[in-house]
Symmetry: C2
Subunit: 349 residues, 2 copies
């Protein structure tokens, strides 16, 4: 499988590391081999080589901050645009792992359509295209007989989409509610230990959980992007950001936290998606709610089903290997499709 | 898909109800149709009809306690043994849902081998055969090109095996530890509320969670059967019951519970499987362990992985529809295999 990577930050590097370190196991257990033939980034430059880029050299150059240090090799090109890499048509899958833009989803959204047009499957860690144009991308992918996978967009590699879309086949999912933003959960957990909101935020920033401008997390927008993905993917909705009621944790004080604790409750920023809509809102949960015990930067989701009642999945929501693995799980799913296409049924039914 | 059901208690009735009530949805969404052509029970009698048994009539007769009241139909036979039903060779899948025997796994184990020999796939809710002879059944199924599925044996329909075996493909699972017996978890939860062990047990019996002879649950044997299944299925072990260290909750007093609570901990009966072995033991867990917050008859499992850290799944561990759905999920997986066999690849690779 030949891969084109857009972005080479935490996700891309995590994927590359797994592909390198697990190559033998993936080959023997899953008959899976993959080569990274192109990488395009905004800050480090671009590399393309039809016969594959050396992964260790790629990781080493990325550590230095620029592909300038990537060693010359026969066939290596450093001057191609993303569009050119797509149009050359050599890759099987476009891995979109550039930073999320929840306002326009660009430039990733254009790249996704170009890739589908060129016959490439999609594996996305970038939430923008899936959150803002799920229906459009899904329709285009179906029309071209291609797959769009996006496990990394919700709870990193914790198998949220695979649980909801594959493992629960035959069950009806009625709602999804979860702790889908690790930064705010970390801040709330620290506030329970007695810190003020400002001190907890500063600590989250020091730990690398929150960015210098934390508004995307603390005002609920990151979680809202995930609500859109769940609402559209699980319930066939066509919701836009404007359809969601979104609030964050900025208005929650130490006194609120203490008040909730005294009542045997805990504040959690809950992202909720149903067939009718979605919201992001800080809720006071009773301690026996499985989501109430999820502390720190951990994520969790509860799926309400018709036959099984509530199913809760708890796991990492971020991290290099965790998110890189999410892409790998998408690639393994795509491989099963590629194999089926190469070996079409003798008597299609 | 033609089904032969051994046992028609909670599991069989749950499956039958789902097959009847979700028939249209299963057909349209999954191109799945199933007929129950045979049912054999120890207490209600047996029924067989090559062209399918009426499910509503079957459920009604079961409610009355005997198939004597099942209406006569052309082609209906009431006198066949399980062996005869298998040897006639009309069913695609044997659904083994008779009561678990963790000492010999019989008579279910013989039926499983007979069914495999006759070319039938297996879907098991009965833990005995999977716990005591996993390797043998697996080898026989592989040799015959058949599938053996057993989602119902651990946490009912909560997708434990599908999570571990399918959704985490590419990840290495290093250990599994969980609350896999609802009865003991219910008793421990009630003891935390101040009840004595004897009173909590009596309450569990009154609620239908515990049997008149509760030893299989409270001494840890039910959980031990599940440890064997996990150890053998996830880690390729060939463990037997004698290889496990098994203890239950009978020695835990109200004072122990109070002592743990005072230390910010909670007693849970933890079933644990690793590549090296397994055990069932009451542990004191810190409150921030996701398993600590799992109360009542709910089940949960934490899978320790190489790439994702800990993944915890919480859900029902019993119930009519919950366990019936587990069998359905197995049947859907088997259908994917049947379809592939009927339409073999043109160029097998």
């Amino acid at each position: 499988m030949k891969l084109l990577l857009i972005g080479f930050g935490v996700v891309g590097q995590g994927l590359a590391q797994i592909l390198r370190d697990k190559a033998a196991e993936l080959k023997s257990k899953h008959n899976f081999t993959a080569e990274i033939i192109g990488v395009a980034t905004a800050s480090k430059g671009a590399l393309y080589r039809s016969s594959g880029l050396d992964i260790s050299a790629l990781l080493q150059a990325a550590e230095g901050g620029s592909f300038v240090d990537f060693p010359d090799q026969p066939g290596l090109r450093r001057d191609m645009t993303v569009r050119e890499m797509i149009m050359i048509g050599e890759a099987d899958v476009l891995v979109e792992a550039s930073p999320t833009n929840l306002e326009t989803a660009q430039p990733a959204l254009d790249f996704c359509y170009q890739a589908l047009e060129a016959g490439m499957h999609l594996a996305l860690a970038n939430k923008g295209p899936v959150a803002l144009d799920y229906a459009g991308l899904r329709a285009k992918a179906r029309a071209k007989g291609l797959l769009m996978r996006y496990e990394a967009t919700v709870m990193a590699g914790t198998p949220t989409m695979r649980l909801a879309q594959d493992a629960l086949a035959g069950c009806e999912i009625r709602s999804a509610r979860g702790i889908l933003n690790g930064t705010t959960n970390y801040i709330l957990t620290q506030m329970e230990k007695g810190l003020s909101y400002d001190d907890a935020l500063a600590q989250a920033q020091a730990q690398g959980y929150a960015e210098a401008d934390p508004s995307g997390d603390v005002e609920g927008w990151d979680a809202a992007g995930k609500v859109l993905i769940l609402a559209n993917a699980l319930f066939g909705g066509k919701l836009a950001m404007a359809d969601l009621a979104v609030s964050g944790i900025t208005a929650i004080s130490a006194a609120d936290i203490a008040d909730a604790n005294a009542a045997g409750q805990r504040y959690k920023l809950i992202a909720r998606a149903t067939p009718d809509g979605g919201e992001v809102k800080a809720n006071r949960l009773p301690l026996d709610d499985p989501l109430a015990s999820v502390g720190g930067a951990t994520n969790a989701i509860t799926l309400e089903t018709d036959l099984l009642g509530d199913i809760t999945l708890i796991g990492a929501g971020a991290g290099k290997l965790e998110t890189g693995y999410a892409i790998l799980s998408d690639l393994l799913a795509i491989q099963r499709r590629l194999t089926a296409k190469r070996n079409p049924p003798a008597n299609p039914s």
